[in-house]
């Protein structure tokens, strides 16, 4: 069943689950992106780094109780569907918050290696989600330590949303980029998503900094334009996206200052 009337919407909002969270301020670079769940402790804990690429990485689905570093809610019952119905965001610095459903991730990649294989399939590949989870997936990368003093362009070799292999996505890290700073890959022209990843190559090698790949679907974007001025987005403002009860929500924060600020937020899950 889906929400299809105003009465159903009102009823769902009135009984929605409220998931409050708090992330203490952490050091950032102005304008940069950070995978909050992994980069810093939050009220919902810290998400563990995924398994190595050589072991197939980690496929994500919500567990009960939720794993450390994730927000969990009671799954919809009676054939109902879960929706994101509201987001409230407050921070002591201006911050943009992008909420994702984390599908798959891997660690164990190193700037020391010019070519590294991802053993996709020896893990669990893409998780089960309604529809095709990879069709609009985004690929991100962040280092778990400071990047070496060299500009390195990463190339991810992948199979796209339609099953076409041999596609290339690129991401560039600038010299000495700080730990946990995330960069999004640019997919090959015409592609919208990823079914699987085969390998990662580099145009240069330097040092031995490890980095992590994230494959995820964007759920909602929230823009907080001024420090200390909170944002409320209602069902229309968030677009009432369907959220799988198996979703593992990960936040990417783009900060407007050298610190993230204390972030107090809340998301509402309405079901109907």
């Amino acid at each position: 069943m889906t929400i299809s009337t105003m009465d159903q919407l009102v009823s769902a909002i009135a009984s929605s689950q409220k998931l409050a969270f708090y992330t203490p301020s952490f050091t950032t670079v102005t304008g940069s992106f950070y995978a909050v769940n992994m980069a810093t402790p939050s009220s919902f804990g810290t998400l563990a780094l995924p398994a190595n690429a050589s072991a197939g990485g980690t496929t994500y689905s919500q567990s009960s109780p939720p794993a450390a570093g994730t927000l969990g809610w009671n799954a919809a019952t009676g054939g109902n569907t879960s929706y994101l119905s509201r987001v409230a965001l407050l921070s002591t610095t201006a911050v943009n918050l992008f909420l994702y459903d984390l599908l798959w991730s891997c660690s164990g990649l190193s700037t020391a290696n010019s070519s590294q294989t991802v053993s996709w399939g020896s893990g669990s590949g893409l998780p089960s989600r309604a529809g095709s989870p990879g069709v609009a997936a985004e690929l991100w990368v962040f280092p778990s330590a400071n990047w070496p003093a060299n500009i390195i362009t990463l190339t991810a070799h992948y199979t796209n949303q339609s099953g076409v292999s041999g596609q290339l996505a690129t991401a560039t890290f600038y010299s000495s980029s700080p730990a946990w700073r995330a960069v999004q890959f640019v997919l090959q022209s015409g592609d919208t998503g990823i079914q699987s990843i085969q390998s990662v190559t580099q145009n240069a090698t330097s040092g031995s900094t490890n980095y992590v790949l994230l494959l995820m679907n964007r759920v909602v974007s929230v823009f907080m334009q001024a420090a200390n001025v909170g944002v409320l987005l209602d069902f229309a403002g968030v677009g009432l996206p369907v959220v799988s009860d198996a979703a593992v929500l990960l936040a990417i924060a783009q900060t407007g200052a050298a610190t993230s600020g204390n972030i107090l937020g809340q998301i509402d899950i309405a079901q109907g």
């Binding site: 105003m6 009465d7 009102v10 009823s11 909002i13 009135a14 009984s15 929605s16 409220k18 409050a20 708090y22 203490p24 402790p41 939050s42 009220s43 919902f44 804990g45 810290t46 450390a68 570093g69 119905s85 509201r86 409230a88 407050l90 002591t92 610095t93 334009q225 001024a226 420090a227 200390n228 001025v229 909170g230 944002v231 409320l232 987005l233 209602d234 069902f235 229309a236 403002g237 600020g261 204390n262 107090l264 809340q266 509402d268």
Partner: protein, 274 residues
Amino acid sequence: MAITSLASLKAAISRSQRFCLLPVSTTALTGGVTMTTSFVATVFGTLATPAVAGSGGTSYSQSGSGNGYPAWNAAPAGQVSYIHRGINQYAIGGTGILYDLLWGCSGFVTNTTTSAQTVSSTTLPSRNGSAVNAANEMWLFVGTTIGVTQTNVQISYTNQSGTAGRTATATLAASAAASRIYPCLLQSGDTGVQSVQSVTFQTLTGTDGAVSLLLMNRIAHLPGSPAVNYLAVSDFASSGLPQVADQAVILPVFLPYSSSGTSGPGCAFEIIQG
């Protein structure tokens, strides 16, 4: 019963109980630092400072008007109370969050010892007959200004599942002023607090400030007010219709936009029932 249709929502709104928390005192503001004036003065009176940690603190439940929080008529049998329509009004801008104050204890000193200061017991109230330890938040409230030295704080507690020996952390800024309130970070994996065992200030602050520990449930985010005297309003959709227990003791936490001015922040909200 709960609100399940647009018609029932409209009927509930037509009977709403309205409360306006205007400031009655001037309080120096610190931009970007959360604060509450409930323990200083409100139009509803002054919230009593909780009892000291050595006597088990104070459990809070609504007990009529004039006690530092708004009191509303309880929902009729079978109905539920909701927060509807929050209004944020600042003299200088900012935003706020409405909390339900569950329990607090006072008497912690910040420049006398770096040893654990014991909390003798924690008695959490119930809300609508249910326990409140599943998703509560821990905050540190500054009653009198601490010294010029910042201090990290560790709080030993028992989590929502009854697991003891957990540690929450917080930082009190140097010269943290009175009426400031600081959130604590629970240990990874925890979502709430059943009881608190001790509080430890890891660095002496230079001057003894009076600090209280509060356990609260988050109820509703208020809309942001981006400019001087700018009213910001949320409706049923943007407020999300959070349910609020009729025993709730509303404590607003405000985040000032800047340090300019001394006028206290204010807000308003409506209680609807259906």
